[in-house]
Amino acid sequence: MATETIAHNDIHSEEAGWKGASRPFKASYGKLMMWYFLVSDAFTFAGFLIAYGSLRFSMPTWPVPDFVFSTFPGGIEHKPLLFVTVMTFILLASSFTMVRAVQEGHQENKRGVVKWMIFTIIGGLMFLSCQAWEWNKLIGEEHMTITENPFGTHVEAGEYLEGDGHHIEAGTTFKAGESYLIHKHDGEWHPIEFKVTEGPDAGMVKEQVKGPKAFGALFFFITGFHGFHVFSGVVIMLIVTVNAATGMYRKRKNGYEMIEKVGLYWHFVDLVWVFVFLLFYLL
């Protein structure tokens, strides 16, 4: 095997060096490069998340996440954080099954590797389905796009003068800092009117205004970029699972190192989700 030949080579001879005999940090080339790829990917994600943070801080108002993300399949509404907690648990569970696949790989147990990899792939697909549902809700029903954000936030307390045909009725009161959704029917926005009851503008009649555009753009780009990583991960995992099942990695006799490398990538996707979850949903 390749690794054994290298081990017997003199690592100080120049020729062996060019063949990759030296192992910096005692890690294989593939594993080390996976780590450095993940470092670069962390910088890309951090660029996105830092842009989110500074834009959010710069805006006079920002849609309240607990209002925007408060629905659950089956018509359940006003349950903040419930759906996204389920998504987080799916991703965490798939990280665990990936750890188990790597461990079975170290035991050179082909059946175990394939079994736990299949569980991991199912976890990835479940996560993607959840994300598809969430996006469909936001785009199809709430009409959020990368350039339009119907989620606004009140800056003054007041009382609605008309209903929106959904949850708001004429006479419903609200406080400053509460978010609302402007509905769209037949291609037209229907912001509703309200009377300000507090502050310097008390008594004035105003209309709901749309929230910061950046919200939609940042949400779709960041969760989309993460979802694309999950999707890529599922494709790569399908490939390595088929390879493992055909015995390709058993022949290499290196403890299923390919599974370990894909595992590093998969855990990284979970790691990024920890921060997406924190910034978009918790804070």
Partner: protein, 134 residues
């Protein structure tokens, strides 16, 4: 791996995933309680709430990197070469959040000036002195 037997590493993975699950549930509960959704009377100041959740997320990140990704068992050079560059991001996050707060103030200033009553300034009637222009 390495130092651990198969049984030990299996137990460690189970323990780690349980800790991660507990932290996640704690985060959600703190968020819901702190914002007054579950029960009245536990409302927390936004900065405190944010601080608690950032710390819990960092603990989760540590567990994922060091246990699941086996960073704990890599040699120090590898650990440093991966983790030290990412420390730059901590500076980046602080600097750009600071910048965001500055933009916030600037936006408010522009809004106030736009809303302020227009002062009558006429080219014809005013006498400009060099001191005023400079």
């Amino acid at each position: 791996m390495g130092h651990l037997t198969y049984g030990e590493s299996k137990a460690l993975a189970t323990k780690t995933i349980l800790i991660l699950a507990v932290i996640t549930v704690a985060e959600v509960l703190v968020a819901l309680l702190g914002k007054g959704y579950l029960k009245e009377g536990f409302e927390m100041n936004g900065a405190l709430l944010g601080g608690i959740m950032i710390i819990m997320s960092i603990v989760k990140a540590y567990l994922i990197i060091f246990e699941f990704m086996h960073m704990k068992y890599e040699i120090p050079g590898l650990v440093k070469s991966v983790l030290l560059p990412t420390l730059l991001l901590v500076w980046g996050a602080i600097a750009f959040t600071w910048e965001g707060a500055y933009w916030h103030n600037t936006r408010n200033k522009i809004k106030d000036k736009n809303e302020a009553p227009v002062q009558e300034v006429g080219m014809m009637a005013d006498e400009y002195k060099i001191e005023q222009i400079g």
